[in-house]
């Protein structure tokens, strides 16, 4: 029986995981783009990403491009699996 994941179910984190799960395999999304597309401030997004990273659901990569720091985010294998389970649990609830 799939279970709801309360880490993911928070509205902002649900949208973050939805975005990351829709990326092709091995793709990563830029921090700023993620925040802009989800209409989250940098601080707000950063806090949610920290929670997801601590849960092991995402991977955060910090690099430099043209000497400017860039942060890219992707869902981890655990994050993909838990998100899929969360979606399955939501569908089960809808069937009730």
């Amino acid at each position: 029986m799939p279970e709801i994941d309360l880490v993911i179910h928070t509205p902002a984190r649900l949208r973050i995981m939805s975005t990351l799960s829709a990326l092709p395999p091995r793709a990563q999304i830029d921090f700023r783009t993620l925040g802009k597309s989800l209409e989250l401030t940098d601080g707000n997004l950063g806090a949610h990403l920290q929670t997801l990273e601590e849960a092991g659901y995402i991977k955060v990569e910090k690099t430099f491009v043209d000497r400017k720091p860039r942060t890219h985010v992707a869902a981890s294998a655990k994050g993909h699996a838990r998100f899929a389970e969360h979606v399955a649990a939501l569908r089960e609830i809808c069937r009730v």
Partner: protein, 208 residues
């Protein structure tokens, strides 16, 4: 973390969450499509239309024209893809460098095989015009299917859309090669180039 027994999620809330998930997924795919595939597919589709049409109607210019078109295409690809280095979504091509190197390797091997298989010395001795129609058809089919092989392989990573695109254009190439007769090059321009353009426009407008 498990379901909160005190405040269970209602079916209405679950439906709203699922709708939001779908909306976000659609938005993300559109972002990817805009940033990556559309301009390159349309660019090379246009090159194929121009190149093959010119080969059909101006065969004596075909060789030089294709060299120019391919160089322009590669340069344009690099210019279009340059911003991908700072792209908002990276890793779509395993990092642009890896995908570019893979395509370069494929095209390099394609050129090598063409040089090995095509009897250039015989052509030169017998006179190009005597063999051009036959060899031109073979080379056109060969180079086109080499490119489509690249799309098929790319599709294994990026999604079935590119895999089916590669298979479709391969199939139309073979149909044209065996059945289009003297209009093979025009067939390639319309079906091959047209397919690439339509694929690019389709992704831009309809990818959900």
């Amino acid at each position: 973390m498990t379901t909160d027994a005190i405040n269970p999620i209602t079916p209405e809330a679950a439906r709203a969450s699922l709708a939001e998930i779908d909306r976000i997924a659609t938005q993300t795919r559109q972002t990817i499509a805009w940033s990556c595939a559309t301009p390159l597919l349309i660019l090379w589709g246009v090159i194929w239309v121009i190149g093959f049409s010119a080969t059909q109607f101006f065969p004596s210019w075909a060789f030089r024209l294709w060299i120019g078109l391919d160089l322009a295409g590669i340069l344009s690809t690099v210019l279009l893809a340059g911003p991908f280095r700072n792209a908002p979504i990276k890793g779509i091509y395993h990092g642009l460098g890896s995908m570019s190197l893979a395509w370069l390797a494929l095209l390099a091997y394609g050129a090598l095989w063409a040089a090995l298989l095509c009897p250039w010395e015989l052509l030169h001795q017998a006179g190009w015009a005597a063999y051009a129609p036959l060899v031109g058809r073979k080379m056109a089919a060969f180079s086109s299917t080499i490119c489509m092989f690249g799309y098929v392989v790319m599709g294994l990573w990026l999604g079935r859309f590119f895999l089916w695109l590669g298979l479709l254009v391969t199939a139309t190439t073979l149909v044209g090669y065996y059945f289009a007769g003297n209009y093979f090059f025009l067939w390639m321009g319309v079906t091959g180039g047209g397919s690439l353009i339509v694929a690019g426009v389709f992704i831009r407008k309809f990818w959900r």
